[in-house]
Amino acid sequence: MKLLTHNLPSSHVQGVGPRGFPLHLQATEVRINPMEFNPDFLACMIPKVEWAVLLEAADTLHLVEVPKGLTEGYDHDEKFLRQMHHVLLEEDVLEGTLQCPESGHLFPISRRIPNMLLSDEETET
């Protein structure tokens, strides 16, 4: 699971609502998966990213390169874009967990795939 994907899901455990976002990431196995650098894609995608979520996730994975905020003209800063490219798309979590911040429920990540299925008691009807 890439970090860009981690930015999207939220917990749907019953009763949790918007407090189910973001899911806390823990990774036991991570692999670097090189991807073709596409600056236009990144420049447009970055504003859509929830920055705080990304910071936390990058922190958990011990990636030190993520700046605290977006600076003016980031879309022309190639160094910055390349760093973001690496963080968002090239770090691939193979094994780990995603934790619901409200209920504490753990969703496992196995062989790059997060399992977000809930048992019947936990789902909303």
Binding site: T5, P9, G15, G17, P34, C44, P114
Partner: protein
Amino acid sequence: MSDVQEATNQLLDVNLHENWSSIQVTESGPRSESEHLQVTIGATVPTGFEQTAADEVREKLGSSCKISKDRGKIYFDISVESLAQVHCLRSVDNLFVVVKEFKDYQFKETKEEVLKDFEELAGKLPWSDPLKVWKINTNFKKKKTKRKKINQNTDSHILDYYENPAIKEEISTLVGDDLASYKDEKDESSKEETHPKMLKFRVTCNRAGEKHCFSSNEAARDFGGAVQDYFKWKADMTNFDVEVLLNIHDSEIVVGIALTEESLHRRNITHFGPTTLRSTLAYGMLRLCAPQPTDIIVDPMCGTGAIPIEGATEWSNCYHIAGDNNPLAVDRAANNISSLLTKSQIKEGEVSWGLPIDAVQWDICNLPLRTGTVDIIVTDMPFGKRMGSKKRNWNLYPACLREMSRVCRPGTGRAALLTQDKKCFTKALSGMGHVWRKVHTVWVNIGGLHAAVYLLKRTPQAFVHPSEQDGERTPW
């Protein structure tokens, strides 16, 4: 003008520009005999997507298409130089070069006379140019792969020519790409080139129409006999070099020579599931949604992942998520994604490039995605025949549509949904007019079943939890 229409119009404007530049290239090329050869190419496409395929041809080749009455076929003219690019079209299954087209063929009264006419026809057709094209084409076409057992090694042999460097028209790099298993076939073909008259051929006849007094087998047999006499080729139904096509649709006859050995629709998938969708159909559905750069495209019932994989390879400036509740399906999808990575590894040589795609296991009725974050949803809904059941669909479809309307971005979001259970779908959709608006329906044929692809647009209205009316659930 709706957003989708505006986006489509913008795309069309771009297409016109590309049209001009491709024409200029062909006119400034050096003069040589075969380079100014214009040919008519026919392509079979999934029925219902003829227009989408025509759009792709116009966009990528700069040619306009004729859509024949015989469903599922389009025709367009190109110069021989563009042949490699034709193989890179994503919406076509099979390609052939047209030898001759009869728009209104006059059939004689009796079977004997009709078949005699076919025999005489063989010698009167303009074969030389199409055969030249066929010869040039043997370098570009995907050779039939020997599918014995799919294991880790053979996966990597399934190269796809849409990815091959022949786009840059360097045939030598193509040869370099071939793996050891192709060496045998190459040796064979080089032997045959020294004996051009020892070609093996077969005739395939497709006949549709009510007023014919003959069968396709009879036509193929007699026409084939005459072809054999004319060219002195050897007839071989399985191991052939040249496949002559005789397509008869009412009074329209097209004689062609096949340019593809294996349908191009098997391109992306190495691990098939019980209901894997053809890649050409997946491409058509995605194209209907007019993906814009950085769109988030989700297939919440991905199965083997045919749709997101096609999306990730063709629209690599969007982000694709494949999800399914079935662990087997997600597994297969992940394997198909890995196989794709292996293929690109072979092409590049050292580095394997990742793709903008990820897989998640989830339940479509309860998607772990925030409200209004998805731009495009494209999915193949369970028909209720091989997968699921019609009875289950009565509950599943409304739940799906509701959850999809929640995650889809209001105003700009859109969805392309394929289903055969049209009755159930229409009923489920009827209660959702405040969030989904049906923009277009494409009637398609999936393995004999009459299915439909519904193109829906998400209305600007924000999603309201039913609970906000009756206070049962926490509002999102």
